[in-house]
Symmetry: C2
DNA sequence: GAGTCAAGCTTACCCGGGGTAGGTTACTTG
DNA sequence: CAAGTAACCTACCCCGGGTAAGCTTGACTC
């Protein structure tokens, strides 16, 4: 099997095993066996166990960035853009649960500095997408304010997606609704209602 | 040295080493040596490496829950309660950086299921504190709505604290301000400004 | 004061799994 | 067909989590 194809297979298998058993409990021998290949092949292509994890995360975050950026194309108002981005995000986390749990669960230094950096880079990517969006609609707002808002959106999305994926009585659309109410309209509106 | 005291010392040393080098890179032999004790003592008291991590996390989350619940006592309006809670939270993450980075970095299944559960329990604790607060001020609002709002607040706090701790030009108060603007007033207000 | 029990502690070891050295096969290319 | 290289293997090293078995010391009983 040619290298490129084998690498894709390895990433796919690793994603599944990492997500299932957790990074620590997954052994490289097992992954190799499931690929029908011996362990040194993985080391040849990915360098280390952490390297393999990084490859998995990178693939997931590339897909996520693609899905969210594409979703906001052509939105007329900031409200519409935000809502569309949220729905796309929640749909992604729902349909790509394995990939998403990898990005969440393999936090930082537990797997190693490279994996930590990859995950943080993924978040930062989302932050920058959000900032670009806000900046386009809100030219008057300061950069600090924009970044704070973007971080808030990313954090809220992350947490809410975990919550809604665990409940089958809430759809991606409803999750986006809740988030729009809180972030866009503001929680203060609940008091007056 | 009596057991209780030794346990406290072990947790303190472990917290530091885990936070410094990361969970994987920290070896039990090193931790034992820094305690002036041999490895089996730690296993006697905490059962496993993961058990030791769980003890560290539990201590940190207990402190955090204490700080945030105490901060909102006596608040007259929901706005004041929310703001006070946020400030207390950001101050905690700033002054207890090691403990906080442990809670964030040792995500989920990477260390093992018990550690994952402990961290999720910590988040859920915060969610419930928030829900109780909201419920007190907003008796009309549905439980689903309350929980969604609480999840959003927790997620936004987590992310924003990481951001603000990394920037020395932002104070806990200002971080709380940004969050109040986004969550309480709503981002829509930026458009009209 | 000898006997006993437990708490706190040790040395010396096992073994799974990440990572590597060095070689084999088989296909391309000049 | 010789040379090179891509894809792959077996066999091994060794660190570090985890354990077995026993030592020391002090308190408490008879």
């Amino acid at each position: 099997m040619p290298r490129a194809e084998r690498e894709r297979q390895m990433v796919a298998v690793a994603e599944e095993i990492f997500a299932d058993r957790g990074y620590l409990a997954a052994s490289m021998d097992d992954i190799a066996e499931r690929c029908g290949v011996s362990k040194p092949m993985i080391y040849e292509y990915f360098g280390s166990k952490e390297g393999l994890l990084v490859a998995c995360i990178r693939e997931a975050r590339t897909e996520l960035a693609k899905a969210t950026t594409e979703s906001v194309i052509g939105a007329a108002t900031p409200e519409e853009a935000l809502r569309r981005g949220l729905v796309a995000f929640f749909e992604f986390t729902d349909t790509h649960r394995r990939a998403w749990s990898l990005m969440l669960r393999s936090e930082a230094a537990v797997a190693g500095p490279a994996a930590a950096a990859e995950i943080e880079a993924g978040r930062q990517e989302q932050v920058e997408i959000d900032m670009a969006l806000f900046r386009a609609f809100l030219p008057e707002t300061s950069e600090v304010e924009l970044e704070a808002a973007a971080q808030i959106v990313v954090g809220a999305c992350e947490r809410l997606s975990l919550w809604y994926v665990g409940r089958d009585d809430v759809t991606a659309d409803q999750a986006a609704d809740h988030l729009m109410l809180a972030l866009w309209t503001g929680l203060s509106s609940l008091v007056r209602a």
